[in-house]
Symmetry: C2
Subunit: 343 residues, 2 copies
DNA sequence: CTGAAAGCGCTAACAA
DNA sequence: TTGTTAGCGCTTTCAG
């Protein structure tokens, strides 16, 4: 005997009984399936609506073997990068009436394993892994062959895995080209810790653009430090201690850019008059607060999440996708770089 | 006939068959229930582990009428306040093996209704509503009597509802008392738009503390504006245009506080030497970046989320809780207020 | 066009 | 102590 909840919802049997048809007919009537006399269908539907019938997805899922549910496992404790990704992902999936279960693993493998366990118990149709990107993460251990797993804003060494990340190299190239396009020729790059892959890729993008413009790479210094305003200020001081300070600065993220702009103002150097500054991240709380407001690179994380949703649906549908896919970043023009030709 | 997924998981029947017991026995063996010969129990368990049996929660839930799942509906598009709340909530619930389904309603009633529909279809055991707090939100429409609904960081006019919010009034009082405790006597309050309940409550807390200290309320100006650094700077200029500028400023949020501190530095006024500045939110990206670092009020949102989880579990268990509950804020001391006596 | 019944995987009541 | 079975709510096949 089942232990029903105090207030149980009407079932399809109730509908059938009231509509004076069999459950089979009622089911057909409610799902557009099969052939049915329109009148019967209408009557069943009317009754269903009247008594507030809502199909039990649990039973449906049990029957179909698909739960219309996916799990998201984050190691970044719902951090600021995870948020927009989730937003895009949820928007995409909810369109297909697929629900998203959030799990926070906080870098604890044991917690992560417990979460995977729960998700598998719930028979999710797929799992999305998202993480801080400092490094590649170990592959998620899932002992269920055929269960789609997708990594977003996160990578793993497993070549069979499908990973979706922003194109940092292209983003930095875009930023650098923007400054070059404005006529800046003495460029510098102030960025974060070298151990981040993003730092290495963005630096490469910067260097590539500098080289492509025919400039001397040695005259375009790169300063690595930490992701903070204080480092931005310090690095700027270092650059301006030299005989020929830069007229264009590509920053590794918006925090650094804010430090740079603050210090330039303190030094009485006009932005963008004398120096153009461009950031990376388009973190609005910062980008809208600098004086002048910050031109920066947007990783389009919401779109990334949306794309992750699309891909996951394909994977669930049986498509085979592997490898690393990089999604383009875009330029957000505000006032910290000066008159723009493009746009 | 059911449409099974390509790779179907072992069921309890498989375990039973291999262990040479009945399904009933296997079930008992795996759930610590009933009396069983230890040997049998062990054998069943061994087999289960060996073939990678994992109970199907869908079937379990269908049977029990509880899904071990709750839904979260946010109108704040996973905004920055939602994040820590979710973190606490998920941490609390996952401890009980309850999963959290995230839904983003973005203030669109139709989208919200669709999400509720989906959640009810999945037979969630409860729903958490979280929102921007500009005003009271209309009650969530759920036609399922007895289904627990809890509002967190969000209120509704429905008196039967249970709402959990931070105690803004107490937070502002705490901030003000901190400045008073440091010997500041000429206080001012710079805050956001009046239409926010939080603004009105924080202002009340400020006023209450001023009055309790025996100071003249008329000598403690309150400036309302918007939630931005620019407004913080403007407001500060206004205050310093007066004959007796304040020596302690309670800000309505951290962004305003940052504007205030920046402008004080630009004016050459020492912080905290001449003026103490305190914020509200403890938004680290700001609070750690001001010069000096910002002393501020923390709404303890992660704890709030955790508490929401606890309460929801009680509600699901059948407890009756209604009304508005305010959770205390706490003080985070950094360097923007000067030498501290307490702590 | 409609009804009857099997079965998805699990649990709990009852029988042995 | 263990086995048998009904039933959770739904879909789908097969008869009628």
């Amino acid at each position: 005997m089942s232990t029903r909840r105090a207030s149980s919802r009407p079932t399809i049997r109730d509908v059938a009984r009231l509509a004076e048809v069999s459950v089979g007919t009622a089911s057909k009537a409610l799902t557009d399936a099969g052939k049915l006399r329109p009148e019967t269908r209408a009557r069943v539907r009317a009754i269903a609506k009247q008594i507030g019938f809502r199909p039990n997805d649990l039973a449906h899922s049990l029957h179909r073997g698909q739960s219309q549910t996916v799990g998201v496992i984050s190691t970044d404790a719902f951090g600021r990068f995870t948020m927009p990704i989730m937003e895009g992902l949820e928007a995409c999936l909810s369109e297909q009436r697929i629900s998203v279960i959030m799990c926070n693993a906080t870098d604890d493998p044991e917690r992560e394993a417990r979460h995977v366990e729960t998700l598998l118990g719930k028979r999710v149709d797929g799992i999305v892994v998202t993480a801080r990107r400092a490094d590649q993460r170990r592959p998620l251990v899932v002992d269920t062959p055929g269960l789609p797993v997708l990594y977003v804003f996160s990578r793993t060494e497993d070549n069979a895995a499908f990973c979706l990340v922003p194109d940092d190299e292209q983003g930095a190239r875009l930023a650098t080209e923007h400054l070059l396009g404005l006529g800046r020729r003495r460029l510098a790059h102030i960025t974060g810790p070298e151990r981040f892959e993003a730092v290495r890729l963005r630096r490469a993008g910067f260097a590539a653009a500098v080289q492509a413009a025919g400039l001397d790479p040695d005259a375009a210094p790169v300063l690595t430090g930490v992701w903070s305003e204080a480092w931005g200020r310090d690095a700027l001081d270092q650059l301006f201690a030299a005989s020929t300070p830069p007229d264009g600065i590509v920053c590794g993220n918006d925090q650094i850019a804010r430090g740079v702009i603050d210090r330039l103002r303190e030094r009485g150097v006009a932005v963008p008059g004398a120096v153009s500054v461009i950031g990376f991240d388009n973190w609005e709380i910062i980008a809208e607060a600098t004086r002048p407001r910050l031109t920066t690179i947007d990783m389009n994380l919401t779109q990334l999440g949306h794309e992750a949703g699309r891909c996951l649906i394909e994977l669930i549908g049986g498509a085979a996708m592997t490898g690393l896919r990089r999604m383009p970043c875009s330029l957000v023009v505000r006032e910290s770089c000066g008159a723009t030709r493009a746009n």
